[in-house]
């Protein structure tokens, strides 16, 4: 693996992200709207024991932030292909593996920045978090971002044009969000939806965050899976997606 290539791919993404200040603000708008507008409204309707609805969806909203940010970052590969920059990367003496790891890491960096920004709103939800919890959440968000970024990269190898972008948005990203245990527990879902949720990488990321953020340990609003399972799935899928991504990159280009 070429570390200098990985470094510069991450650096490029970071510089461009930081440059678009308006984009930074608007990407924060989505999770905050969901948290306070949707969550705020639904919390009047849904009153579980021991936890407010907004507190319940907080891990899921962090998941939403990471999902969108990571997927968009990986899908920029399609942009690069369309506008030619990808050729510059492909013709360089750099392994496909390094390119995929670099892209996944750059998605992680960008997602983490946004996740941390959303995380800082926890006092408004009545949650009490100490430094260890905050660090754990950041670490988890990093792992989940890497996993989703790698997933996005695998997806991006199948698409050539920018028009496919909206297809991805509607048919992949939104279902991934809704079937992740973000807005409602997985354990309460009907059969087919529960199956779909279990096949969704984001579910395990959101669930891991619930282990740290959700104040209840039992009952319907508690985490759906053991933490060890969550971590194992995320780690395993991350490796799997990176390997697949590198393989598909090789074949397609």
């Amino acid at each position: 693996m070429e570390f200098n290539a990985v470094y510069v791919i991450v650096l490029r993404e970071f510089k461009k992200f930081v440059r678009e200040r308006s984009r930074l603000i608007s990407t924060l708008a989505r999770p905050l709207f969901w948290l306070f507008l949707v969550g705020g409204g639904l919390s009047r309707l849904v009153r579980p024991e021991g936890v407010s609805y907004t507190q319940f969806i907080f891990p899921g909203i962090l998941g939403l932030t990471v999902l969108f940010s990571s997927m968009f970052s990986s899908i920029s590969i399609i942009w690069d292909k369309e506008f030619g920059f990808m050729k510059e990367i492909l013709v360089a003496p750099v392994s496909r593996f390094s390119i995929v790891v670099g892209k996944a890491l750059s998605g992680t960096v960008v997602s983490l920045i946004q996740a941390v920004a959303v995380l800082l709103f926890f006092p408004f939800l009545g949650l009490k978090l100490g430094v260890p919890e905050i660090l754990a959440v950041i670490l988890l968000c990093g792992l989940v971002s890497f996993c989703i970024s790698a997933f996005g990269i695998v997806l991006a190898t199948f698409y050539e044009s920018y028009e496919s972008f909206t297809v991805i948005m509607n048919f992949i990203i939104m279902p991934m969000f809704f079937l992740s245990g973000a807005m409602y527990p997985v354990k309460l879902l009907p059969g087919p939806l529960k199956l779909a949720a279990k096949a969704n990488p984001l579910t395990y990321g959101v669930d891991a965050l619930k282990h740290i953020l959700t104040p209840v340990r039992t009952g319907p609003m508690s985490p759906d899976f053991p933490l060890s399972l969550d971590l194992a799935v995320i780690a395993g899928l991350s490796i799997g997606f990176v390997v697949l991504g590198a393989r598909f990159f090789e074949r397609k280009t």
Binding site: N4, L11, R12, K15, F83, F85, V91, A92, P93
Partner: protein
């Protein structure tokens, strides 16, 4: 004993399904020269460059660059080459300097060298003052110059230029040629260029003419023009048929007719013209002379002018290849 060629292509064939884009071509390029691949659009130039740059593998045949086999040792080839593609491959949201630095990192240029080399490259193409400007603000000519600068950062042995002045205005083109000409001597690099502009091919020390995937002719522009046989003198007369017969009788030359003009090829046009005018005794209406151009060379070998080919078939071959690639 001449040194080994820096580029060596032997019996290269590249097919896209039923379409043969490159049909059994062979040629060598000597190190430190500017070599041109001249041909109309769709002739197979870009495909050949893609194979040499390891972006595609050949269907059969061999291609060697800087001593490495393009198919077997692509990584080694890539380290030794720089490429400026037909379409821009710059990141428009980064600055000129950042684009060069990115390239430097990608090609493992030692960290301490990245800044000095990038700045030197920018100075060489006259873009140093704009180094911190975003590339999206650059004109087409500036972008092309920046790409040439970028291609040199890692000190390649060969720089590939695919239609370097395509789409540029005449001033930018002339400007870019000035940099291209200095490349071998200033940067110790061999230049391999494809083009369909004849004036551009004149800049090269050696050229190969390609059409329909086949190599038609090879040599220096001077050598190739000599094969046309000399200067072409064009005459308009009161009676072309009669003049033709007179020319045959007086000079034993077969004149030909095209677009109402007679034309004949002679060694020294400037000395022949007075002879023709006096020989045809007042029937000459106008006369002009043209030195042979590469278009004449192309015409001689293929029976068509480069421009005519472009307007008709060549475009469709390119489209067919593109469509095939999109499907597979």
């Amino acid at each position: 004993m001449s040194p080994a060629p820096i580029i060596s292509v032997k019996r290269l064939v590249k097919k896209f399904g039923p379409i043969t884009a490159v049909d059994d071509i062979s040629f060598d390029v000597e190190e430190g020269t500017i070599f041109g691949f001249l041909g109309p659009n769709g002739a197979g130039k870009t495909t050949t460059i893609n194979v040499l740059c390891t972006l595609q593998g050949p269907t059969s045949g061999w291609a060697f660059v800087a001593g490495h086999d393009c198919m077997m040792e692509p990584a080694s080839v890539r380290k030794a080459i720089g490429i400026v593609f037909q379409d821009t491959t710059l990141d428009k949201d980064l600055t000129a300097y950042e684009n060069l630095a990115f390239h430097a990192y990608l090609y493992s240029v030692p960290k301490a060298e990245i800044r000095p080399r990038s700045e030197d490259a920018l100075r060489f193409v006259g873009l140093y003052e704009r180094k911190d400007d975003l590339v999206k603000k650059f004109s087409g000519g500036m972008k092309r110059r920046l790409e040439v600068a970028r291609g040199l950062i890692h000190r390649p042995r060969v720089l590939f230029l695919d239609e370097p002045t395509l789409g540029l205005d005449p001033q930018s083109r002339a400007n870019l040629w000035e940099y291209i000409i200095r490349l071998p001597e200033r940067h110790n690099v061999t230049v391999f260029m494809t083009t369909h502009y004849m004036e551009e091919a004149e800049v090269c020390e050696r050229i190969a003419i390609i059409d329909h995937g086949k190599l038609i002719a090879e040599g220096s522009p001077e050598e190739l023009k000599k094969t046309v046989g000399g200067d072409v003198v064009y005459l308009k007369t009161k009676d072309n048929e009669k003049a033709k017969a007179e020319i045959k009788r007086l000079f034993e030359i077969e004149a030909q007719e095209r677009d109402g003009e007679l034309y004949l090829t002679v060694q020294r046009g400037d000395t022949y013209i007075p002879l023709l005018i006096s020989g045809l005794a007042g029937t000459v209406l106008s006369v002009r002379q043209e030195r042979p151009t590469l278009n004449d060379v192309f015409l001689k070998f293929t029976g068509k002018a480069i421009r005519d080919v472009e307007e008709t078939e060549a475009g469709t071959i390119k489209e067919e290849v593109r469509a095939y690639r999109r499907r597979h």
